[in-house]
């Protein structure tokens, strides 16, 4: 097989062996590889790399070459954390899902409309191979330039006057890659479940809107419904509400990142109840006390604010295992599974 013109494989025998092994093991692998090969020849992918790299190194470059003091003097030590919590966190949660949707929304529907899907399914690929191969292939398409950008970001941090904390930066990179991959997987799955690009775009943006802005409203509505109509109150209600909040990959990503930046996992989970959302409402101190004490297992305390009102703060180190950072990281992928299954079931029923 000719590999001479492909820089991504065949560098040595070990790679070839791995390639063969993957092909034998996973039915979707060949589709995923084709997908990546195809995309790596598109100018869009290189443009994407440039965008990612600019976004991730720009603030560091400003700090490095223009000596712009991002924090106060002497803030170099925590500068990276501040950059992550103010700049990167917003860029990642707003921008990356949109880019992910652009990468994924036409993955299957475009092939269906153009007819290249017939080529794919004339070969011994099952429809499941097609959905999975597309999901994995497109994830690689966005993950590779993103990883390059994150790697370059680390190099620039190391070269700048802002201290690079390798452990924190590595975790941040991992969470960021995970969130992006989750959104691509969802976008590709939607693409497989509908018949045209336009429909896929519409469903994708509705999904994005709910994840980005509407989620807390829905979750709070569920909470009220449980309490008002089913009589599920107190600890049980807030357990369910927190689970539901964590099922939003964007919120899971934020609370993970906040935890990693030094808040600690318990405080980061508690913070999810005071975070704003388009439709979220503030919780009563009583509810917050329940969340802190019964749901997270922390010690709630009441504190007077400068406006004379009181607010609940929550102390303690680690919540129950199912609300721990590792668990939250896994919850991010719940939607990947749900979306892929729905996509496969729908796609499998369709006449092409």
């Amino acid at each position: 097989m000719s590999t001479r013109d492909n820089p991504f494989e065949g560098l040595n025998g070990a790679l070839n062996a791995a390639d063969n092994q993957l092909r034998d093991t996973f039915g979707w692998y060949t589709v995923a590889k084709k997908e990546f090969r195809d995309a790596s020849r598109s100018k869009g992918l290189w443009l994407l790399t440039v965008v990612f790299v600019s976004v991730f190194i720009l603030p560091v470059v400003l700090a490095l070459y223009f000596s712009i003091n991002l924090v106060s003097r002497g803030g170099a030590d925590i500068g990276m954390q501040l950059l992550i919590s103010t700049y990167y966190l917003n860029v990642v949660t707003i921008l990356l899902p949109i880019i992910a949707i652009f990468i994924g929304y036409a993955a299957i529907s475009k092939e269906r409309t153009s007819g290249s899907l017939k080529l794919l399914l004339s070969l011994p690929n099952s429809r499941r191979d097609v959905v999975l191969g597309k999901v994995f292939g497109r994830c690689a398409v966005i993950a590779v330039p993103l990883a390059v950008a994150l790697g370059l970001g680390a190099l620039f941090f190391a070269a700048s006057n802002i201290a690079l904390k390798p452990g924190i930066y590595a975790q941040f990179s991992l969470f960021t890659l995970a969130l992006t991959v989750v959104f691509v997987a969802i976008a590709v799955s939607i693409s497989g479940a509908v018949s045209t690009n336009t429909r896929s775009a519409i469903v994708n943006f509705i999904t994005y809107f709910y994840f980005a802005f509407g989620w807390n409203g829905i979750v709070n509505g569920i909470g009220s419904f449980l309490s008002d109509y089913l009589g599920i109150q107190g600890s049980a209600r807030w357990h369910i509400v927190l689970f539901a909040k964590l099922l939003n990959p964007t919120q899971a990503y934020k609370t993970l990142t906040n935890s990693m930046l030094g808040q600690g996992s318990l405080s980061a989970r508690f913070g999810m109840f005071s975070q704003g959302g388009l439709l979220s409402s503030g919780l009563s101190n009583e509810a917050l006390t329940t969340v802190c004490g019964s749901v997270l297992g922390g010690s709630p305390a009441t504190q007077e604010t400068q406006f004379g009102t009181t607010r609940v703060i929550c102390e303690g180190s680690t919540p129950a295992p199912y609300f721990s950072d590792v668990a939250v990281f896994l919850y991010m992928f719940v939607w990947v599974g749900i979306a892929a299954v729905i996509s496969y079931k729908t796609f499998n029923l369709a006449d092409l």
Binding site: M1, S2, R23, T30, V31, K33, K34, R37, D38, A39, R41, S42, S114, G115, S116, K118, L119, L121, S122, L123, P124, N125, S126, D351, L352
Partner: protein, 313 residues
Amino acid sequence: MAAIELDGVTKRFGTVTALAEVDLTVEEGEIFGFLGPNGAGKSTCINILLDFVRPTEGGAEVLGRDVREQSTAIRERTGVLPEGYDVYDRLTGYQHLEFAIETKDADSDPSELLERVGLSEDEGKRKAGGYSKGMAQRLVLAMALVGEPELLILDEPTSGLDPNGARLMRDIVREENERGATVFFSSHILSQVEAVCDTVGILQDGELIAKDTVDGLREAATGDTKLLVTLDADGQSVDDAVDVVTALDNVSGVRPDDGRLTIDCQGDAKMDVLNAIEDAGFAVEDFEAQESSLEDLFATYTETEPAEVTPEQ
């Protein structure tokens, strides 16, 4: 074992019936021509064989396997040239073939395959997005040949091909058949089917209206030779000649047309017909005997205009 077996296959799209209770058997080792005008349901039928669409009623087996349950296993042993496909614009011809070879876990040589379908090495290295319709058709044919499949399913394989390409396609079909492959070949162009197929099935409005060997169909259609006789009527009524000829045994039809008679008769009755006309006092200026072509048969069976013989560019 039959290579393809359709059992009472009905497919409805909404209220439109694309296929109505089609029963069809294609034996192993045959070249089967699947003939019918555009829109007759040929592609729907092929799409059912490939599990692209699912039958409303009935079932089908390919190579002894159920098309719904074991589609992947079927496609491992089948080479397909689908209809209405598109190539991957950014991948080269070689990469298309490598993809097919890897998916089929075959050890075919991409260069050899390209050569067989008449694409040069340079063309193989170009991105398929720049290919003409004919080149894309050749490339997808090459993909279908990967791994020496037991069955080739070719949906309108000559569309987009120039006459040389169409000839190459026929040669490849014959070579593959000699190697042992069964070939299922759909077309609305009669000459393509007539030239290579052992057996022909004719589909019209979703129904299989005939299935036989090319010779068998030829016989079944009329069993006749068509005789075109130009008369020098010299004042006599052509109708008299019609009467004379109609009275003969072995003549099944006579149609006068402006001093010319078109006579359907059995092959060995030609001289009798000409003698009878001359005996009746007519002078035969010219005559021409035509063995009935499949095109006529096709017209006989389908009562539609013979499919436009596509101007192949």
